[in-house]
Symmetry: C2
Subunit: 335 residues, 2 copies
């Protein structure tokens, strides 16, 4: 045991001339305690700087007062913003978040969740990720579970996510209205539901506009920068003609931007580019990246509220957040 934390409940019991149960009672507020005794306890707590031992408390109560949060890639602005929201949402609730990083690798995600589980988390928030939905279903049975920014079939009521279809649709429409016909779509992983929805939104917009979808304009990515870069490189190398790009997330849009830059192609003068997520860095690109805003912090906040509800057995409040297209200077009218 570390040197600190020597003061225990019995120390203050002694100091306050009461029994340890009384101390426990005033600390937890589980039963009424006479005023003088309560004050004595509180005073002793103060004087001795008592800090409850989380382990002992957890052992005895069966509650850890901890919420596990599986995030993807510390360093990814979007997921980090969600984490921020969770932190804020959990403040002063008595619960504290325990973070683990899945790194977008199913195996890593599993291990991370196992670790969290071992720490007896009272609830689990999973953001994004590639974990098979079967595994998620299993977790859902073991612990109050909330999934953020990902739609999992069969667990819809546990998922906090936005209308990807509509947002992608809007973004594509925006490009079409600017006069674009040949719009590249750089998608996410095919097995990922969000990616599918966004793609459908894209396709639906084309359809509405009477534009024949062109398979050669649709590229599968993996949500990472490199994928965006490669996508553009390949398109160019293959001589595919296009005037606009819609990427399923900002990271890939960054990559695409980079590839264009290397070839001396200007954005938005030569090609229009839209991303998705509104990562903070998007605003700092020169010129700023046009993107679909996913309110990540708000998502995190909602997630923390939601998980607390679940823990208390309350029904999940319906969730709705609107996404909107952030139009900056980087989308141009087609010349």
């Amino acid at each position: 045991m570390a040197i600190r934390d020597q003061v225990t409940i019995s120390d203050i019991a002694e100091r306050a001339n009461v029994s340890i149960s009384t101390v426990s009672r005033v600390l937890r507020g589980t039963a009424r305690v006479s005023d003088p005794k309560r004050k004595a306890v509180l005073a002793a707590v103060e004087e001795l700087n008592y800090q409850p031992n989380v382990f002992a408390r957890g052992l005895a109560s069966g509650q850890s007062m901890a919420i596990g949060v599986l995030t993807q890639n510390f360093g990814s602005p979007f997921y980090d913003a969600i984490s921020q929201g969770v932190i804020r949402g959990l403040e002063n609730t008595g619960y504290s978040p325990l973070f683990a990083d899945g790194q977008w690798q199913p195996e890593m995600e599993r291990r991370s969740v196992e670790t969290l589980m071992q720490r007896q988390i009272d609830g689990l928030i999973i953001t994004g990720g590639l974990m098979p939905s079967s595994v998620l279903h299993r977790y859902a049975e073991e612990v109050p579970l909330l999934i953020v920014a990902r739609r999992v079939p069969g667990l819809e009521e546990r998922c906090l996510c936005l209308d990807n279809f509509r947002a992608a649709h809007e973004a594509t429409m925006h490009l079409i209205e600017l006069g674009h016909h040949r719009i590249v779509y750089i998608g996410g992983i095919g097995s990922h539901d969000d990616a599918v929805e966004r793609r459908n939104g894209y396709l639906h917009a084309l359809d509405q506009a009477g534009i024949e979808p062109d398979e050669s304009l649709i590229v599968e990515g993996d949500f990472r920068r490199q994928a965006g870069l490669l996508a553009v490189d390949n398109l160019m190398r293959n001589g595919v003609v296009f005037t606009a790009i819609f990427a399923a997330n900002d990271q890939m849009a960054f990559g695409a931007r980079m590839a264009l830059f290397r070839r001396g192609i200007r954005v938005p003068e030569d090609i229009s580019l839209i991303g998705f997520d509104d990562e903070p860095a998007a605003a700092f690109m020169i010129p700023p990246l046009t993107t679909v805003r996913q309110p990540a912090v708000e998502l995190g906040l909602a997630a923390s509220k939601g998980i607390l509800d679940l823990i208390q057995g309350k029904p999940l409040e319906p969730f709705s957040l609107k996404m909107k297209l952030i139009v900056r200077e980087s989308v141009a009218l087609l010349r």
Copy 2:
């Protein structure tokens, strides 16, 4: 207690026909156990899918097997990269990291550390931050402590940081060699040791080159984007003349870049710009931001190794990582 995790050590003891202590022994490897019994235990563990209860273990052993990590701003690429390093460094060590976010606010940092402490962390890694050094000294007495990316007087042997002075000196020299005389320095918070060192490096380079430092070129920032933006705006408004900017971190360089962009000033054609930290996004600016590389992941790795050494009472290995200037395309010769 959650529904899961019902299997306890005695369940498998029963199942394997041994005593609970034997089970504990094979699980912890604290003593030799006959082969048949060991195998029986392992088998039982497997069959029952036993998961040790961290709380019970912690209570009994006094060890939490957890390392607290106070980071600044989830979402700051630099600190996140450090976190990544810590995660990697702790893999397969039996220890797991517990993250908390200080958000660059002393009060928040304190609360976060208190929370970590309450969770009985075996060691504490603090990255950056603004916590008064007196507080840090106190923590150092309570728990094995390692400070990353910040130099704290009196705790030097506990600090993992780089040679800020030399790096700032080099960056400034680089600009001078390119022909710049009037170089703006956008600094960090004055009370922050790193900021002071970087500033001194800047001043020393000027001195060596025989350039008289000009107070009007030295701006105090706070490491955030907004500060860089404001700095440039103010300089411009006041009609200060300069041909290059050296910012004490990339975030502020981003801000400066933005301010320049808004005024139609090109980088590097019109003004040279150097940042500090080599945040990933720096490479994705158009053109990429020239910056001083701080190997953040390596810092995190070293930190995790270091904290484990401290916990085991081993002396801290001397640490050295060189920083180097990443010269990309955004520094121009003075026309």
